[in-house]
Protein backbone atom coordinates (compact mmCIF):
# COMPACT_ATOMS: atom_id res chain seq x y z
CA UNK A 1 0.00 0.00 0.00
CA UNK A 2 1.50 3.30 -1.04
CA UNK A 3 1.92 6.21 1.33
CA UNK A 4 1.63 9.94 0.77
CA UNK A 5 3.88 12.03 3.02
CA UNK A 6 3.85 15.83 3.13
CA UNK A 7 6.70 17.87 4.52
CA UNK A 8 5.66 21.30 5.65
CA UNK A 9 6.78 24.28 7.67
CA UNK A 10 4.91 27.42 8.54
CA UNK A 11 7.90 29.62 7.79
CA UNK A 12 10.54 29.44 5.08
CA UNK A 13 14.16 28.44 5.55
CA UNK A 14 13.50 25.68 8.07
CA UNK A 15 15.10 22.92 5.97
CA UNK A 16 11.88 21.53 4.53
CA UNK A 17 13.29 20.67 1.10
CA UNK A 18 16.46 19.23 2.62
CA UNK A 19 14.38 17.00 4.88
CA UNK A 20 12.23 15.88 1.92
CA UNK A 21 15.26 15.13 -0.24
CA UNK A 22 17.14 13.26 2.48
CA UNK A 23 14.20 11.19 3.67
CA UNK A 24 13.28 10.30 0.09
CA UNK A 25 16.88 9.29 -0.73
CA UNK A 26 17.06 7.12 2.38
CA UNK A 27 13.76 5.43 1.53
CA UNK A 28 14.98 4.80 -2.03
CA UNK A 29 18.14 3.37 -0.47
CA UNK A 30 15.89 0.83 1.26
CA UNK A 31 14.69 -0.31 -2.16
CA UNK A 32 11.46 1.72 -2.27
CA UNK A 33 10.08 3.52 -5.30
CA UNK A 34 9.78 7.14 -4.19
CA UNK A 35 8.22 10.12 -5.93
CA UNK A 36 9.02 13.67 -4.84
CA UNK A 37 6.76 16.46 -6.02
CA UNK A 38 7.63 20.11 -5.61
CA UNK A 39 4.36 21.95 -4.97
CA UNK A 40 6.21 25.09 -3.97
CA UNK A 41 5.16 26.64 -7.27
CA UNK A 42 5.98 30.18 -6.16
CA UNK A 43 9.52 29.42 -5.03
CA UNK A 44 10.68 26.00 -6.25
CA UNK A 45 14.08 24.71 -5.19
CA UNK A 46 14.27 21.02 -4.34
CA UNK A 47 15.51 20.18 -7.88
CA UNK A 48 18.82 21.79 -6.90
CA UNK A 49 19.36 19.22 -4.16
CA UNK A 50 18.80 16.42 -6.66
CA UNK A 51 21.17 18.03 -9.17
CA UNK A 52 18.46 18.45 -11.81
CA UNK A 53 19.46 21.24 -14.18
CA UNK A 54 16.93 23.54 -15.84
CA UNK A 55 17.79 22.23 -19.31
CA UNK A 56 17.13 18.66 -18.13
CA UNK A 57 13.56 19.53 -17.16
CA UNK A 58 11.56 18.34 -20.12
CA UNK A 59 8.28 18.97 -18.34
CA UNK A 60 7.34 20.38 -14.96
CA UNK A 61 4.36 20.38 -12.62
CA UNK A 62 3.30 23.64 -14.29
CA UNK A 63 3.02 21.88 -17.68
CA UNK A 64 0.77 19.24 -16.13
CA UNK A 65 -1.45 21.88 -14.48
CA UNK A 66 -1.79 23.62 -17.84
CA UNK A 67 -2.75 20.38 -19.59
CA UNK A 68 0.44 20.18 -21.65
CA UNK A 69 1.43 16.71 -20.42
CA UNK A 70 0.50 13.83 -18.16
CA UNK A 71 1.82 14.06 -14.62
CA UNK A 72 4.17 11.10 -15.16
CA UNK A 73 5.72 12.92 -18.13
CA UNK A 74 6.92 15.55 -15.66
CA UNK A 75 8.64 12.89 -13.51
CA UNK A 76 12.42 12.81 -13.81
CA UNK A 77 14.32 9.74 -12.67
CA UNK A 78 17.01 11.28 -10.46
CA UNK A 79 18.15 8.00 -8.88
CA UNK A 80 21.50 8.11 -10.64
CA UNK A 81 22.09 11.65 -9.32
CA UNK A 82 22.00 10.27 -5.79
CA UNK A 83 24.80 7.75 -6.10
CA UNK A 84 25.47 4.14 -6.93
CA UNK A 85 24.16 2.44 -3.81
CA UNK A 86 20.46 3.17 -4.35
CA UNK A 87 18.47 0.00 -4.87
CA UNK A 88 15.11 1.74 -5.24
CA UNK A 89 14.03 4.64 -7.44
CA UNK A 90 13.60 8.36 -6.91
CA UNK A 91 11.48 10.38 -9.29
CA UNK A 92 11.29 14.14 -9.04
CA UNK A 93 8.42 16.21 -10.37
CA UNK A 94 9.85 19.73 -10.31
CA UNK A 95 8.02 23.01 -10.49
CA UNK A 96 9.15 25.30 -13.25
CA UNK A 97 11.95 27.72 -12.42
CA UNK A 98 11.22 29.95 -15.38
CA UNK A 99 10.14 33.36 -14.09
CA UNK A 100 7.44 33.72 -16.76
CA UNK A 101 5.92 30.35 -15.91
CA UNK A 102 5.90 31.09 -12.17
CA UNK A 103 4.25 34.43 -12.89
CA UNK A 104 1.69 32.76 -15.17
CA UNK A 105 0.59 30.21 -12.61
CA UNK A 106 0.31 32.94 -9.98
CA UNK A 107 -1.62 35.21 -12.33
CA UNK A 108 -3.96 32.68 -13.92
CA UNK A 109 -4.37 30.20 -11.09
CA UNK A 110 -4.93 26.53 -11.83
CA UNK A 111 -7.38 23.70 -11.31
CA UNK A 112 -6.86 22.41 -7.78
CA UNK A 113 -8.74 19.21 -8.67
CA UNK A 114 -6.12 18.51 -11.30
CA UNK A 115 -3.43 18.68 -8.62
CA UNK A 116 -5.32 16.13 -6.52
CA UNK A 117 -5.75 13.87 -9.57
CA UNK A 118 -2.06 14.31 -10.31
CA UNK A 119 -0.97 13.06 -6.87
CA UNK A 120 -3.04 9.91 -7.23
CA UNK A 121 -2.17 9.33 -10.90
CA UNK A 122 1.51 9.61 -10.08
CA UNK A 123 1.31 6.90 -7.44
CA UNK A 124 -0.40 4.57 -9.93
CA UNK A 125 1.59 5.41 -13.05
CA UNK A 126 5.01 5.09 -11.39
CA UNK A 127 3.94 2.30 -9.05
CA UNK A 128 5.23 4.32 -6.12
CA UNK A 129 5.65 3.04 -2.59
CA UNK A 130 5.88 6.59 -1.30
CA UNK A 131 4.95 10.00 -2.68
CA UNK A 132 6.63 12.86 -0.83
CA UNK A 133 5.18 16.33 -1.23
CA UNK A 134 7.47 19.30 -0.66
CA UNK A 135 5.07 22.13 0.14
CA UNK A 136 5.15 25.90 0.04
CA UNK A 137 5.68 27.41 3.50
CA UNK A 138 2.64 28.86 5.23
CA UNK A 139 -0.88 27.86 4.40
CA UNK A 140 -2.29 28.09 0.89
CA UNK A 141 -4.57 25.93 -1.23
CA UNK A 142 -2.00 23.44 -2.49
CA UNK A 143 -0.53 23.10 0.99
CA UNK A 144 -3.91 22.42 2.56
CA UNK A 145 -4.72 19.91 -0.17
CA UNK A 146 -1.38 18.17 0.33
CA UNK A 147 -1.94 17.95 4.07
CA UNK A 148 -5.54 16.76 3.60
CA UNK A 149 -4.57 13.79 1.41
CA UNK A 150 -1.46 12.77 3.37
CA UNK A 151 -1.07 9.60 5.36
CA UNK A 152 1.73 11.26 7.29
CA UNK A 153 2.87 14.83 7.79
CA UNK A 154 6.25 16.09 8.97
CA UNK A 155 6.20 19.65 10.26
CA UNK A 156 9.66 21.21 10.28
CA UNK A 157 10.45 23.97 12.75
CA UNK A 158 13.44 25.67 14.27
CA UNK A 159 13.67 26.35 18.00
CA UNK A 160 12.67 29.95 17.34
CA UNK A 161 9.76 31.90 18.85
CA UNK A 162 8.25 32.75 15.45
CA UNK A 163 8.43 29.10 14.42
CA UNK A 164 6.81 28.00 17.69
CA UNK A 165 3.74 30.11 16.99
CA UNK A 166 3.47 29.19 13.29
CA UNK A 167 3.94 25.50 14.01
CA UNK A 168 1.01 25.67 16.40
CA UNK A 169 -1.19 26.91 13.56
CA UNK A 170 -0.04 24.09 11.26
CA UNK A 171 -0.58 21.43 13.94
CA UNK A 172 -4.10 22.74 14.50
CA UNK A 173 -4.84 22.65 10.76
CA UNK A 174 -3.43 19.12 10.40
CA UNK A 175 -5.63 17.91 13.24
CA UNK A 176 -8.66 19.53 11.64
CA UNK A 177 -7.83 17.75 8.37
CA UNK A 178 -7.54 14.41 10.19
CA UNK A 179 -4.00 13.58 9.09
CA UNK A 180 -3.47 10.03 10.40
CA UNK A 181 0.15 10.56 11.43
CA UNK A 182 1.83 13.80 12.41
CA UNK A 183 5.42 14.26 13.55
CA UNK A 184 7.49 17.35 14.23
CA UNK A 185 11.14 17.73 13.28
CA UNK A 186 13.04 20.39 15.19
CA UNK A 187 15.80 21.51 12.85
CA UNK A 188 18.91 23.71 13.02
CA UNK A 189 19.06 23.44 16.80
CA UNK A 190 22.06 25.26 18.28
CA UNK A 191 24.53 22.79 19.78
CA UNK A 192 24.41 24.62 23.11
CA UNK A 193 20.78 23.62 23.66
CA UNK A 194 19.75 20.63 25.72
CA UNK A 195 18.21 18.48 22.97
CA UNK A 196 16.19 16.32 25.34
CA UNK A 197 14.70 19.41 26.91
CA UNK A 198 13.83 20.83 23.47
CA UNK A 199 12.11 17.56 22.54
CA UNK A 200 10.12 17.43 25.78
CA UNK A 201 9.10 21.07 25.48
CA UNK A 202 7.91 20.73 21.87
CA UNK A 203 6.07 17.46 22.52
CA UNK A 204 4.32 18.96 25.51
CA UNK A 205 3.43 22.17 23.70
CA UNK A 206 1.82 20.50 20.67
CA UNK A 207 0.91 17.10 22.11
CA UNK A 208 2.68 15.63 19.10
CA UNK A 209 5.61 13.31 18.62
CA UNK A 210 9.00 14.83 17.82
CA UNK A 211 10.64 12.58 15.22
CA UNK A 212 14.06 14.16 15.70
CA UNK A 213 15.86 17.16 17.10
CA UNK A 214 18.47 17.94 14.45
CA UNK A 215 21.54 19.96 15.35
CA UNK A 216 22.72 22.94 13.37
CA UNK A 217 25.45 21.50 11.15
CA UNK A 218 28.40 23.24 9.52
CA UNK A 219 28.74 20.32 7.09
CA UNK A 220 25.15 20.84 5.98
CA UNK A 221 25.73 24.58 5.54
CA UNK A 222 28.95 23.95 3.65
CA UNK A 223 27.19 21.51 1.31
CA UNK A 224 24.99 24.49 0.42
CA UNK A 225 22.28 22.41 -1.30
CA UNK A 226 24.84 21.03 -3.76
CA UNK A 227 23.66 17.50 -3.03
CA UNK A 228 21.71 15.25 -0.72
CA UNK A 229 23.42 15.20 2.67
CA UNK A 230 22.60 11.58 3.53
CA UNK A 231 24.32 10.40 0.35
CA UNK A 232 27.44 12.49 0.96
CA UNK A 233 27.69 11.69 4.66
CA UNK A 234 26.04 8.27 5.15
CA UNK A 235 27.50 7.78 8.63
CA UNK A 236 26.93 11.31 9.95
CA UNK A 237 24.81 11.91 13.06
CA UNK A 238 22.40 14.00 10.98
CA UNK A 239 21.96 11.19 8.46
CA UNK A 240 21.06 8.85 11.33
CA UNK A 241 18.49 11.38 12.49
CA UNK A 242 17.03 11.55 8.97
CA UNK A 243 16.79 7.74 9.09
CA UNK A 244 14.88 8.10 12.35
CA UNK A 245 12.51 10.60 10.72
CA UNK A 246 11.99 8.25 7.74
CA UNK A 247 11.19 5.35 10.06
CA UNK A 248 8.70 7.40 12.08
CA UNK A 249 6.97 8.68 8.96
CA UNK A 250 6.63 5.18 7.56
CA UNK A 251 5.43 3.66 10.86
Amino acid sequence: MSKIISVHSFRGGTGKSNTTANVSALLAGQGLRVGVIDTDIQSPGIHVLFGLEEDEMKHSLNDYLWGKCNIEDAAHDVTSHLGADISGKTYLIPSSIKAGEIARVLREGYDVGLLNDGFHELVEALDLDVLMIDTHPGLNEETLLSIAISDALAIIMRPDQQDYQGTGVTVEVARKLNVPRLVIVVNKTPQVYDFNQVQEQVERLYSAEVAAVMPHSDEMMALASAGVFAQRYPDHEITNLYRQVATKLMA
Binding site: G109, D111, V112, G113, H120, E141, L144, L145, I149, L177
Partner: protein
Protein backbone atom coordinates in the same frame (compact mmCIF):
# COMPACT_ATOMS: atom_id res chain seq x y z
CA UNK B 1 -26.14 15.65 -12.29
CA UNK B 2 -24.46 12.32 -12.91
CA UNK B 3 -21.53 12.19 -15.32
CA UNK B 4 -20.99 9.04 -17.30
CA UNK B 5 -17.46 7.80 -17.89
CA UNK B 6 -16.33 4.98 -20.16
CA UNK B 7 -13.48 2.97 -18.68
CA UNK B 8 -10.84 0.87 -20.32
CA UNK B 9 -9.80 -1.21 -17.33
CA UNK B 10 -10.70 -4.81 -16.46
CA UNK B 11 -13.44 -6.28 -14.32
CA UNK B 12 -12.35 -5.00 -10.90
CA UNK B 13 -13.92 -1.60 -10.34
CA UNK B 14 -11.86 0.63 -8.04
CA UNK B 15 -10.82 4.28 -7.78
CA UNK B 16 -8.27 3.68 -10.53
CA UNK B 17 -11.16 3.30 -12.98
CA UNK B 18 -11.85 6.98 -12.63
CA UNK B 19 -8.19 7.77 -13.24
CA UNK B 20 -8.04 5.43 -16.24
CA UNK B 21 -11.23 6.69 -17.84
CA UNK B 22 -10.86 7.57 -21.51
CA UNK B 23 -8.95 10.75 -22.23
CA UNK B 24 -11.73 12.45 -24.15
CA UNK B 25 -14.35 11.66 -21.52
CA UNK B 26 -12.01 12.95 -18.88
CA UNK B 27 -11.34 16.17 -20.77
CA UNK B 28 -15.05 16.69 -21.41
CA UNK B 29 -15.72 16.08 -17.76
CA UNK B 30 -13.12 18.63 -16.72
CA UNK B 31 -14.48 21.19 -19.19
CA UNK B 32 -18.04 20.66 -17.90
CA UNK B 33 -16.86 20.97 -14.33
CA UNK B 34 -15.07 24.24 -15.07
CA UNK B 35 -18.30 25.67 -16.44
CA UNK B 36 -19.96 25.09 -13.09
CA UNK B 37 -19.68 27.93 -10.62
CA UNK B 38 -17.95 27.62 -7.26
CA UNK B 39 -16.51 24.30 -6.30
CA UNK B 40 -14.47 23.30 -3.31
CA UNK B 41 -11.37 25.08 -2.10
CA UNK B 42 -9.13 23.18 0.32
CA UNK B 43 -9.60 26.22 2.57
CA UNK B 44 -13.31 25.30 2.87
CA UNK B 45 -12.28 22.14 4.72
CA UNK B 46 -11.18 24.23 7.68
CA UNK B 47 -14.53 25.78 8.51
CA UNK B 48 -16.89 23.08 7.30
CA UNK B 49 -19.15 21.28 9.81
CA UNK B 50 -17.38 18.16 11.07
CA UNK B 51 -19.86 15.71 9.52
CA UNK B 52 -19.35 17.17 6.05
CA UNK B 53 -15.60 17.57 6.47
CA UNK B 54 -15.16 13.93 7.51
CA UNK B 55 -16.95 12.67 4.42
CA UNK B 56 -15.26 15.00 1.97
CA UNK B 57 -11.90 14.23 3.54
CA UNK B 58 -12.39 10.55 2.67
CA UNK B 59 -13.43 11.44 -0.87
CA UNK B 60 -10.32 13.55 -1.41
CA UNK B 61 -8.00 10.92 0.08
CA UNK B 62 -9.37 8.17 -2.17
CA UNK B 63 -9.86 10.55 -5.10
CA UNK B 64 -13.27 9.05 -5.73
CA UNK B 65 -15.27 6.57 -3.68
CA UNK B 66 -18.62 4.72 -3.74
CA UNK B 67 -21.39 5.29 -1.19
CA UNK B 68 -21.09 1.85 0.42
CA UNK B 69 -17.30 2.15 0.72
CA UNK B 70 -17.41 5.54 2.38
CA UNK B 71 -20.17 4.40 4.75
CA UNK B 72 -18.04 1.38 5.72
CA UNK B 73 -14.89 3.51 6.15
CA UNK B 74 -16.73 5.88 8.46
CA UNK B 75 -18.79 3.21 10.17
CA UNK B 76 -22.00 5.02 9.28
CA UNK B 77 -25.29 3.84 7.87
CA UNK B 78 -25.67 4.20 4.10
CA UNK B 79 -28.70 6.43 4.66
CA UNK B 80 -26.77 8.89 6.85
CA UNK B 81 -23.81 8.93 4.46
CA UNK B 82 -26.13 9.42 1.48
CA UNK B 83 -27.76 12.41 3.19
CA UNK B 84 -24.34 13.99 3.79
CA UNK B 85 -23.24 13.28 0.21
CA UNK B 86 -26.44 14.80 -1.15
CA UNK B 87 -25.75 17.94 0.87
CA UNK B 88 -22.18 18.09 -0.47
CA UNK B 89 -23.43 17.66 -4.04
CA UNK B 90 -26.03 20.37 -3.43
CA UNK B 91 -23.30 22.74 -2.25
CA UNK B 92 -21.24 21.98 -5.36
CA UNK B 93 -18.36 20.44 -3.40
CA UNK B 94 -18.84 16.90 -4.70
CA UNK B 95 -19.83 15.44 -8.07
CA UNK B 96 -21.47 12.13 -8.86
CA UNK B 97 -19.56 10.23 -11.53
CA UNK B 98 -20.92 7.11 -13.21
CA UNK B 99 -18.39 4.38 -13.81
CA UNK B 100 -19.73 1.17 -15.36
CA UNK B 101 -23.25 1.72 -14.03
CA UNK B 102 -22.00 2.53 -10.55
CA UNK B 103 -22.07 5.92 -8.89
CA UNK B 104 -18.83 7.26 -7.49
CA UNK B 105 -18.40 10.48 -5.56
CA UNK B 106 -15.53 12.76 -6.45
CA UNK B 107 -14.50 16.13 -5.05
CA UNK B 108 -15.33 19.07 -7.26
CA UNK B 109 -12.58 21.59 -6.72
CA UNK B 110 -12.93 25.13 -7.94
CA UNK B 111 -10.14 26.78 -9.83
CA UNK B 112 -7.51 28.35 -7.61
CA UNK B 113 -8.29 32.06 -7.50
CA UNK B 114 -6.36 34.12 -9.98
CA UNK B 115 -4.12 36.66 -8.39
CA UNK B 116 -4.84 39.77 -10.40
CA UNK B 117 -2.51 42.64 -9.65
CA UNK B 118 -3.70 46.06 -10.61
CA UNK B 119 -1.80 47.44 -13.57
CA UNK B 120 -1.25 50.59 -11.53
CA UNK B 121 0.52 48.74 -8.72
CA UNK B 122 3.97 49.92 -9.77
CA UNK B 123 3.00 53.59 -9.96
CA UNK B 124 1.25 53.21 -6.60
CA UNK B 125 4.44 51.78 -5.14
CA UNK B 126 6.42 54.65 -6.68
CA UNK B 127 4.05 57.06 -4.97
CA UNK B 128 4.63 55.38 -1.62
CA UNK B 129 8.39 55.53 -2.11
CA UNK B 130 8.14 59.23 -2.97
CA UNK B 131 6.00 59.92 0.11
CA UNK B 132 8.46 58.13 2.35
CA UNK B 133 11.44 60.11 1.12
CA UNK B 134 12.82 62.31 3.90
Amino acid sequence: MVRSMQTTTGANTHAGDILMAGLFNRLQDEIDARDEPGGLSPIDLLDMPKALATVINQIIRKNGIKLEDIAAELNQSSADTKATLDELVEKGYVRRVEVRDQIWYKAHFGRKADKVLSSSIWSSLDDVVEEEKP
